[in-house]
């Protein structure tokens, strides 16, 4: 990763957290192999844009930015927030 990219990544108001184990793993087996593939494609834990810790409260984001001395990066979308990320 280039230094600039590192700097950008470090300064964004993101905290990358490991995905929690999916509770669906313990669900009764009901899906075919093809349906499991669809579930895998659709589950939020497999969407790259969903892995950063996105804040959804401005007040909470400001408090965190103050604490971490970082700027706030705001993404504005129509309806489905982050749906285009």
């Amino acid at each position: 990763m280039k230094p600039n990219a590192l700097r950008i990544a470090a300064c964004l108001l993101f905290v990358l957290t490991p995905a929690r184990p999916c509770s669906a793993d313990t669900l009764p087996e009901v899906f075919s192999a093809e349906e499991k593939k669809l579930c895998s494609q659709l589950t939020l834990t497999n969407q790259p844009w969903a892995s950063p810790r996105w804040e959804v409260s401005l007040t909470e984001a400001r408090a965190r930015a103050t604490k971490e001395n970082k700027p706030i990066f705001l993404v504005v979308n129509t309806g489905n927030v982050l749906g285009f990320v």
């Binding site: 600039n4 990219a5 700097r7 950008i8 300064c11 964004l12 108001l13 957290t17 995905a19 929690r20 999916c22 509770s23 669906a24 313990t26 669900l27 009764p28 087996e29 009901v30 899906f31 349906e35 669809l38 579930c39 494609q41 659709l42 589950t43 939020l44 834990t45 969407q47 969903a50 810790r53 996105w54 804040e55 959804v56 409260s57 401005l58 007040t59 909470e60 984001a61 400001r62 408090a63 930015a65 103050t66 700027p71 706030i72 990066f73 705001l74 993404v75 504005v76 979308n77 129509t78 309806g79 489905n80 927030v81 982050l82 749906g83 285009f84 990320v85």
Partner: protein, 277 residues
């Protein structure tokens, strides 16, 4: 952070005032960067990742130089009369009720419909193919009573009706007329049917688990025909479906990760007065 620019449901009036010069009125899609004390670093409207990277670089450079960024200012008279100012009084639905369970709904088109049809929201044809393969997202709230019913082995009719609003949306039907039926058996297996676009039959399949009186796992997969839906971007991948075509789509419903603040994004329809009824 991320926010909805249509109804601003999870912003207080004070927060809306704070954001008035920070791009919160972006149309369809926008980005801005600012400091916690309100200094605007940069604002823009980007689809292209390279342009966004340059935007972030510019913002970060300003962040490291004191006095370069625009100071927090009070709204001008023109801004006070603007649409933004009027909208700040819209109803606020901050976050899910404390006893509600949040589920994510993600969807994508799974059958080929040929060439994607570009529109304003997809920046014309340039990104239409990307939209065709993108994943849309919304949330749905389950009330405490509904969760109790699911734990007891009975799928609540009210939850079916709420999910049907989404099925109606993706299939282009009216919420009050769409047919959807969901059953839960004693082994935690979900099955059901719904009527998709053009009257084509759709399927619903899934499973739940519970422990100590709470729903601890839920995964439901609905498949069926959908059609073009254009509403300034919310429909995501449905907007590039050519008119008159009815490809199949899959909608996954599963419990949200409550450790991720994003689960508190307000469902599109949560401001409807009967949403939780």
């Amino acid at each position: 952070m991320a926010m909805d620019n249509v109804d601003y449901p999870n912003q207080t009036e004070a927060e809306r005032d704070f954001l008035i010069d920070k791009g919160w009125m972006a149309s369809t899609n926008g980005q801005s960067a600012f400091t916690a004390d309100g200094r605007l670093l940069a604002t823009g409207y980007f689809f292209d990742p390279r342009e966004l990277e340059n935007f972030l670089r510019e913002a970060l450079e300003k962040h490291t130089v004191p006095g370069v960024a625009t100071k927090q200012r009070t709204p001008t008279d023109e801004e006070k009369r603007s649409r933004a100012s009027a909208l700040k009084h819209k109803p606020v639905v901050l976050f899910p009720p404390h006893d509600a369970q949040v589920v994510n709904m993600t969807w994508r088109v799974i059958s080929d419909y040929g060439r994607a049809e570009g529109n304003d929201t997809s920046a014309g044809d340039k990104y239409a193919a990307l939209f065709q393969n993108a994943t849309g997202i919304d949330r749905l709230w389950l009330s405490a009573t509904e969760s109790e019913s699911i734990v007891a082995g009975k799928w609540p009719e009210s939850a079916t009706k709420r999910l049907a609003r989404m099925l109606a949306y993706i299939s282009g039907a009216k919420s009050e007329t769409i047919t959807a039926s969901i059953k839960l058996d004693g082994a935690g297996r979900i099955s059901g049917t719904w009527t998709g676009a053009d009257g084509k039959p759709g399927t619903i399949k899934g499973a739940v688990t519970s422990s100590e009186g709470a729903v601890t796992g839920l995964r439901l997969l609905a498949q069926g025909a959908v059609r073009q839906v254009r509403d300034c971007g919310f429909s995501n991948n449905l907007q590039t479906i050519p008119a008159g075509k009815f490809p199949r789509a899959a909608l996954l419903v599963e419990l949200a990760d409550t450790a991720q603040p994003m689960h508190r994004v307000t469902p599109y329809r949560a401001s409807e007065h009967d949403y939780l009824k």
